[in-house]
């Protein structure tokens, strides 16, 4: 195989202690190729990329660039070899300007002096950004940029170091729709200029859109490497999960819910910024999806239902009574799984047990003392019910994977047996296995009478779980449709952009 490959990783092995994390993994990257790397959490893709970027050292195997073996023993060596990892906003200093960030520790000097040549630095940054086709003033502080632009600064920084291989890890997970489009354009441009990209993502649709090849990892092995052309989502999911079980991510028609008084009524809700007039109802046992663009005010609606915001006008009625603040909402059986689990969902440095107990302390307190024995039973039950993968209840939440962390957030509320569960982007950064488990749990709870409102940017997910879908556009609910009448993701996609769907008579597959 006299390959045109730019990068060839062969038979890479890595163990932590006695546990093998990579078992003879091979991975190649052609010049100008966008190569998707997929797999569930713990499949080994991060470890493989950390070996490529010199964060970890491999136990065995070889890495060659343009056919020449290289030794990537530390991050500096990987950088010299032209490999760069594009982090999200985290590796930039928010108080420094774009130019200062790009050239940090490599600032051009005034000739013969130790002083920084600011004008030169700004000029070079401007050139770089122009090359990328973006209009960012190099003298803006990075902290004032949107996440999408921060990512572009990251890319510019990598290119300034003459990187030829970029590793992008979930680059779109916090981007808006428009920013995502812009990023795809940029990826195409980079590709055309001969730069190779390893693209890690959980989002099937975008991978099939922009990638040339996809490699799927499972349990420390590369189980599939194929050109994207001709691949379907089902193919990839099957490779990720292993033969068999993908059923729970398919939609089940749960039938008509028995007529019952709605548990939640939102009437003519108006909120400060974006919501002008929103009304809808949810009945017990119903799963309602709320679709809308990023920034359309979805999260604000969720927080108003949960009592964290007060409406400007209109009302939120639970069992026919207005919700008066968050304490009232919680006491009456409303639960919210918030948008950002690391910031709002979990105390990361506390144990699984403490996190699950946090909203339930009053229930386990007798004579001022928390009854830990009794509480532990509930925690253990929660861990089992949601199959949270942890060594035990005392393991720190920080040490769990994204999917398992999200299960803790879900579990701490389910332990209260809520009557209305609001899920805001429940599966961001959650691998497909955990995703189906979460969907399954929510379905089971709904079957027992819990009402559910799901907010998600992933239409695939809304299509899989909802009985009914609401489309939020321009501050109002522009459409409300029975899931049965939505034929495809594309239809829903059009709807959230503001187009009307005519109810079709064909039933979705």
């Amino acid at each position: 195989m006299s390959s045109p490959d730019l990068l060839q990783m062969t038979d890479i092995r890595k163990s932590f202690g006695s546990i093998p994390v990579l078992k003879r993994v091979s991975f190649s990257l052609r010049r100008g190729e966008v190569h998707a790397l997929m797999g569930g959490n713990g499949a080994g893709k991060s470890t493989l990329m950390k070996i490529l970027t010199g964060v970890y050292s491999k136990d065995a195997g070889t890495i060659a660039i343009e056919g020449v073996p290289v030794d990537l023993h530390d991050t500096a060596a990987a950088e010299r070899a032209g490999i760069a990892m594009i982090f999200q906003e985290f590796s930039l200093v928010p108080t420094l300007t774009v130019a200062q960030n790009i050239w940090l520790k490599r600032e051009p000097r005034l000739p013969g002096t130790p002083f920084i040549n600011n004008a030169e630095m700004v000029r070079r940054s401007r050139d770089l950004l122009r090359q990328l086709g973006v209009d960012i003033d190099p003298e803006t502080p990075v902290g004032t940029l949107s996440v999408g632009y921060m990512q572009i600064v990251e890319i510019a920084k990598a290119l300034s170091k003459n990187a030829r291989i970029l590793v992008m890890d979930e680059p779109t997970s916090s981007l808006s729709e428009a920013e995502t489009e812009a990023l795809f354009g940029l990826v195409a441009k980079l590709k055309a200029s001969g730069i190779s990209i390893v693209y890690i993502s959980h989002r099937m649709a975008e991978i099939l859109t922009i990638c040339d090849r996809v490699t799927v990892m499972r349990d420390g092995e590369a189980v599939m490497t194929e050109p994207c052309a001709g691949l379907t989502v089902d193919h990839i999911v099957e490779a990720m999960l292993g033969a068999g079980n993908t059923a729970s991510f398919e939609w089940h028609d749960r039938g008509e819910r028995p007529a019952a008084a709605p548990v939640l009524q939102v009437r003519n809700l108006r909120l400060a910024a974006r919501i002008t007039d929103v009304s809808f109802e949810i009945r017990p046992g119903e799963i309602v999806g709320l679709a809308g663009l990023m920034g359309s005010g979805r999260t604000e609606i969720a927080e108003t239902i949960f009592g964290r915001r007060m409406p400007v006008s209109g009302e939120v009625l639970f069992d026919g009574q207005p919700v008066r603040g968050q304490a009232d909402a919680i006491a009456r059986g409303i639960a919210l799984v918030p948008e950002d689990r690391r910031k709002m969902g979990l105390v990361l440095d506390h144990s699984v047990r403490d996190n699950v107990l946090l909203p339930n302390l009053a229930q386990f307190t007798r004579h001022f003392l928390v009854q830990d024995g009794e509480a532990l039973k509930t925690v253990t039950r929660t861990i089992r019910a949601l199959s949270i993968k942890t060594d035990g209840p005392d393991k720190l939440a920080r040490l769990l994977s994204g999917g398992n962390q999200q299960k803790i957030v879900l579990g701490k509320w389910l332990a209260r047996d809520p009557r209305l569960l609001v899920l805001d982007e429940p599966t961001i950064g959650v691998d497909i296995g955990a995703k189906s488990e979460i969907v399954e749990t929510v379905r089971a709870m709904a079957d027992r009478g819990m009402a559910v409102l799901v907010i998600s940017s992933e239409l695939e997910e809304l299509m899989a779980i909802s009985d009914r879908i609401l489309v939020l556009h321009g501050g109002r609910i522009t459409q409300e449709m029975n899931r049965r009448n939505v034929a495809s993701e594309e239809e829903l996609h059009h709807a959230i952009q503001g187009h009307r769907i005519e109810p079709s008579d064909h039933v979705a597959a």
């Binding site: 932590f16 202690g17 546990i19 994390v21 959490n41 713990g42 893709k45 991060s46 470890t47 990329m49 950390k50 982090f87 999200q88 985290f90 890890d169 979930e170 997970s173 916090s174 890690i200 964290r308 968050q326 304490a327 919680i330 919210l336 918030p338 690391r342 910031k343 709002m344 969902g345 979990l346 105390v347 990361l348 440095d349 506390h350 403490d354 107990l357 946090l358 909203p359 302390l361 009053a362 307190t365 001022f368 003392l369 928390v370 830990d372 920080r398 040490l399 769990l400 994977s401 994204g402 962390q405 701490k412 950064g429």
Partner: protein, 325 residues
């Protein structure tokens, strides 16, 4: 972000190591005791009287540090405790000097501590000023007030019931100061570890927003921590007063820093979310033991300060979790 989540699913390698680090304060304590025992055991260090003496002289710091553990665990800091001890001592002494019964004086003293705590809590949780700044200002303000009340004159306390109860008395041969500090430490331990309030303190300090979203009223929790801190400082002030049988404007100078050192030595995180009262108690005793031992060894004050400071830094360095900022 995602990369982190995935990376952390790898096996944790150094678990036993981390647990060892949780006990650094106890290990240091044993080492220091053993060191002094061998070197100056014959010069009276190991006598019961001296060990009681250590416990007595650290009682005020212990009491303050127990409450400080709550404040720090909730992600805040209280620098005003030192000057509050003197305020409470003066209030207490003046009420008794005015001929009023001692229980009333005690109530007034605790009340003064609660007022300070209330002000701190208000500025931190309602106005939203960082506690470091609020309590730094409060520390100055209260110390000034202490000086102003009696124009720096000491106020003596002649009520022997009060003096016995709070400072110089004994019960079954055990100094009352020791009883106070052990009682407060035990109470604090139970409250922090076994009550809903304690869990809410830790959750608030660990991730305020997540605690909010879980239904914890984090402002109220922080406010309560400052009230506790003010009350504990007032109690410490009365312990000083009872021991000296007098109240002075300069009581508790530097006590806030000693208390913070004891808390951090004990293994509580300076950034909140993780706290242990037993560790704090050990930390306080460790500082007291070092000071006492150095005095018996015949070091003068300047040398004592240097050695004690060095030991504190060393102990915290050994207890540092790998990778923690």
């Amino acid at each position: 972000m995602q990369s982190k989540a995935t990376a952390s699913s790898r096996p944790t390698m150094s678990l036993p190591d981390i647990q060892w680090k949780n006990y650094v304060v106890y290990i240091f304590f044993v080492i220091v005791l053993a060191f002094f025992g061998f070197t100056i055991g014959d010069s009276g260090f190991l006598t019961v009287t001296n060990l009681f003496n250590i416990a007595r002289t650290t009682a005020m710091i212990t009491v303050i540090a127990v409450a400080m553990t709550f404040v720090i665990s909730a992600g805040e800091l209280d620098l005003s405790v030192g000057s509050t001890t003197a305020l409470a001592a003066l209030v207490c002494a003046l009420v008794m000097q005015a001929g009023l019964p001692w229980p009333l004086a005690v109530a007034a003293a605790i009340g003064s501590g609660l007022v300070v705590g209330c002000l701190n809590g208000f500025f931190v949780t309602v106005i939203g000023i960082p506690s470091f700044l609020v309590t730094l200002g409060m520390m100055q303000f209260i110390r000034g007030l202490d000086m102003r009340i009696t124009y720096t004159n000491p106020v003596s306390i002649s009520n022997q019931t009060f003096n016995g109860l709070f400072g110089s008395g004994k019960l079954f041969g055990i100094p009352s100061l020791l009883i106070w500090s052990v009682a407060i430490a035990l109470l604090g331990h139970v409250v922090l570890k076994y009550t809903g309030f304690g869990r809410e303190i830790l959750a608030t300090g660990g991730n305020r927003l997540a605690a909010e979203y879980s239904g914890v009223k984090t402002r109220r929790v922080k406010f309560a921590a400052f009230l506790l801190s003010g009350a504990a400082a007032a109690l410490a002030g009365m312990l000083y007063a009872g021991m000296m049988q007098t109240a002075r404007f300069n009581f508790g100078e530097g006590a806030e820093l000693m208390a913070i050192a004891a808390v951090i030595l004990g293994g509580t995180s300076l950034f909140g979310g993780r706290g242990t009262i037993l560790g704090t108690f050990a930390g306080s005793l460790l500082i007291g033991t070092i000071n006492n031992g150095l005095i018996i060894m015949g070091l003068d004050v300047s040398e004592q300060m240097m050695v004690a400071g060095g030991i504190i830094i060393l102990a915290v360095a050994f207890g540092k979790k790998p990778g923690a900022a």
